[in-house]
Amino acid sequence: MHLLEADPSGISKLMFIGTLGMLTLAVGIIVFVIFHQRKVIRYQMEMKKMENEKQQILLNASIRFQEEERQRIAADLHDDAGPLLATARLYLNENLVNQEKAQQLQSIISAKQIIDDAILLIRNISHSLMPPTLKNFGLESATTDLFQKINGSGVINASARFHDYRDRLKVEQELLVFRVVQELVNNVLKHSNAAFIHLTQNCSGNNLYLRIHHDGKGIVQSEFDKLNQATQGLGLKNIASRVNVLNGKIFFEIDPSQTYFKITLEIPKIPIV
């Protein structure tokens, strides 16, 4: 007040200091906002880097899984189909024509039996690679079939319900989704000790949703993320990498009632042309 009642030069000084103070304050606020944003961006860049590393782990896991799958098929063919066919060949050697008729017949029957076994074995290998129900009748039939088989074992109460699956997905997409479901169900059967497992399907907009409920020991999203970062264990990494290929999302959670676990899959639909 003293300054305001003084001469104009005093007021001028006050105005100059006041303006400078206000401008400093404004600059301070702006600098704070910008630096805060830069800090947030740096943090997000680090997160992105971690995400890339995670992707790399998933890719490696996927490659390793493919190799293991090939080795398994090779082992199946070499150890099972190979000896079977070799045995059949032994029965059908050149000496067969010199043998008695009864012995010839016995050898042919044995060889036929072995060849039938080999056919069955190859069919099983082929089915494990591409389930015929999935190829011919689609995801709904293959999944329902899978759950019926599990239920039929009597170990666990399993059921699947598709609410809205009028339009089939692209074959490659269906196979990937089926593999994810298979892996999830396998995990539940192996680790959760659940009494029931239930799958529900629905659609919303351009997305397909699948949710698996089970009442066993499960995991939540944070545990899934943690296990995904770990170098050991292929199952969950395979799920994550397949979901990634599908451009989808997967979410693990526990029901608020704490009585059962939920695993939700969100997949953008690519219909068959």
């Binding site: 305001l4 007021i11 006050l14 105005m15 404004a26 629905n202 969100e266």
Partner: protein, 190 residues
Amino acid sequence: MCFYFIAFSKSYTNYILTLRLHVLFEYILITSFLYFSFINYKIKFLLISLLPIFIIYYIYDYFKNGNSTFGNIPTIIEFLIFILFIIIFFYESMQEDFQIVLYKKINFWLCVGFLFYTSGNFFYILLVEKFFNAQLSVKNQLILIYSIVTIIKNIIFSLSFLLKETPQITNNSISYAPDLDLEPTRTNTN
């Protein structure tokens, strides 16, 4: 500016009236800009609610003081409102799960320009009437401060329009479809 010069040439009353209209126009313009910049509806509502209150107060001030003053007190209130809302805008933008970096947004730099303008001219508007009878050299100093602040504001405005808003971060949340939960156990009411 042309409007100002026409008013200058006519009379002092027109000059005061033009200044008052300028403040009113400025308030409505900046309020509209801030209204569309905010996301929070409560803040939007508060901002728009202040508009008629300010206009009524401004008209009241005009009828009370007439042409004796250009209305520096309402202008100071206007500046305080804008400084407050600009700070709220910065806070809201910092909280937001942003797709575009804040300092790459046109709105941010426009707000920076307004903040410079309001804070830089705050004391000038507050004390301007004390300088009516001051020497020419003091008046020139005032005009210099006002001009520098206004030029900085205009440079910030011009540069802000050169910015390209490019998205940076994508949202990764899962949206659930309805009807996926377990069917509730039906209880027999009969």
